[in-house]
């Protein structure tokens, strides 16, 4: 085989290439996250991690589970479609997270191939234990005026008043019950 005469150095070189390729495959196996490419050119597990983010607004159905009296009153009034947490604030409060996520790129990368995933963020829910967390109700005047202050920029059909002229400084809930704001509903009890 005269073709391969003096070709030993080429074979050694080819061997090196094969070895490097094998090392590449091994490193790649450990470095590329398992779920990468599951649905496309991204980490499939990322969706689960994003979905694990704790919610803070519990939704009006949760409130209505206990406060059915308010729900009944609200359903008959003009604010039927204004959900509870619009005014009362979020029902769930997160406690301080155990650890901040690593900031530098290298640590972040190590964290990304960690199969355990991020630590869970603890939280308290008003619905689980009403005393543990009470949703913050801002001043009624602020809540009412935020939506109902007259402005030509607002849709014409939306009920609006100039607060100073309308009530002369009397708080809104003297005449209007926020849960059912129509005057014939009787106002605050």
């Amino acid at each position: 085989m005269s073709v391969f005469k003096d070709a030993g150095h080429l074979f050694r070189f080819a061997g090196l290439f094969v070895l490097a390729f094998l090392i590449f495959l091994v490193v790649r196996h450990f470095v590329v996250p398992k779920s990468f490419g599951q649905y496309g050119h991204y980490r499939g597990a990322a969706m689960g991690e994003i979905a694990a983010h704790p919610a803070k607004f519990a939704g009006h159905e949760t409130c209505e589970g206990c406060h059915s009296d308010v729900a009944d009153k609200k359903a008959k009034g003009k604010h039927a479609h204004v959900d509870c947490e619009v005014c009362h604030g979020a029902l769930i409060k997160l406690l301080p997270a155990p650890a901040e996520r690593p900031a530098n790129i290298f640590e972040r990368f190590i964290a990304s191939i960690d199969p355990k995933g991020p630590p869970e963020i603890p939280f308290v829910r008003h619905a689980d234990d009403p005393s543990s967390m009470v949703p913050e109700l801002p001043d009624t005047a602020l809540l009412c005026t935020r939506c109902h202050t007259a402005s030509t920029a607002k849709p014409k059909g939306f009920p609006q008043v100039v607060p100073a002229d309308h009530s002369n400084g009397v708080p809104c809930q003297t005449c209007h019950d926020p849960h059912s704001p129509g005057l014939n509903a009787g106002g605050a009890k």
């Binding site: 990468f36 649905y39 496309g40 050119h41 991204y42 980490r43 597990a45 990322a46 969706m47 689960g48 991690e49 994003i50 979905a51 694990a52 983010h53 704790p54 919610a55 803070k56 607004f57 939704g59 009006h60 604010h79 479609h81 204004v82 959900d83 947490e85 619009v86 604030g89 979020a90 996520r101 900031a103 790129i105 972040r108 964290a111 990304s112 935020r146 939506c147 202050t149 007259a150 402005s151 030509t152 920029a153 607002k154 849709p155 939306f158």
Partner: protein, 254 residues
């Protein structure tokens, strides 16, 4: 053990099928949410928006959005009447040059307007969750993607913070998170919609101007709504397949 060729030919496919069953046996998460059954979007009913800023505040609370950055924000447009000189000459085009304000993203509402002329309206903006999104195409590492249920998400563990996607978004909906140093954007409250809740902004909207829609759900009211209303998307000429539908959108909105 002696196996005949006949036995072997029967056993091997059976073993293969059994192995497949073993592999498929344990799903990662026991959840009743199936991605392939949803295709999420949002409807924004402009005539209903009063510019209270509830959605912006709720989004910030729900998603820990840092001050000065927005996953959703509200703009107030004022399209004035056509300015004319006495001889009837038009001096400016309010369709091209409307007055737009968004103080702190509309978080604390808007200043009172007293001007009766022209047309005022509010335009809530957020990620359009495009079906053919330019932002996901430019990511060099596969950190941002369109999920199988039609939500554009960022894998913040994988993101390098190069900000190509921030530049690629035609709607300006992305930003670099100041402390995490990665791209951040609206997730369409993915953690809520996968659990059967609506998004925080929809939950907080007092007038129903924002509605989460599931285009794959045949019972979703969006289908009837689209038949009976003039629904548009922003920048349709970009062909991004935006799924943020605006009802009664004024021609001056960019």
């Amino acid at each position: 053990m002696n196996l005949s060729r006949r036995q072997m030919l029967i056993l091997l496919p059976a073993a293969a099928i059994a192995w497949k069953a073993v592999l498929a046996g344990t799903p990662e998460e026991a959840s009743n949410y199936t991605m392939s059954e949803h295709w999420w979007g949002m409807l924004i009913d402009i005539p209903k928006c009063i510019g209270c800023g509830n959605c912006v505040r709720a989004c910030q609370t729900e998603n820990d959005v840092p001050d000065g950055h927005f996953r959703t924000w509200v703009e107030r447009y004022h399209r004035s009447d056509w300015p004319m000189t006495e001889s009837g000459e038009v001096t400016a085009n309010p369709m091209i040059d409307p007055e737009v304000i968004s103080p702190d993203g509309g978080k604390e509402g808007f200043p009172v307007a007293t001007d009766e002329s022209g047309k005022y309206f509010f335009v809530p903006k957020m990620c359009n969750h495009c079906a053919d999104s330019p932002c996901t195409q430019v990511c060099p590492v596969g950190a941002t993607f369109i999920s199988p249920d039609g939500v554009v998400l960022v894998d913040q563990k994988y993101c390098l913070g190069c900000a190509y996607c921030v530049q690629a978004c035609p709607y300006g909906c992305r930003y670099i998170h100041p402390t995490k140093e990665v791209a951040d954007k609206c997730t369409l409250c993915y953690h809520r919609i996968t659990k059967g809740l609506t998004t925080a902004c929809c939950e907080a909207c007092p007038t129903g101007a924002r509605q989460l829609v599931d285009l794959k759900n045949p019972k979703d009211p969006i289908h009837e709504f689209m038949k009976t209303h003039t629904v548009q998307v922003l920048k349709p000429q970009m062909a991004t397949g935006a799924k943020l539908f605006y009802n009664d959108l004024d021609g001056s909105v960019r």
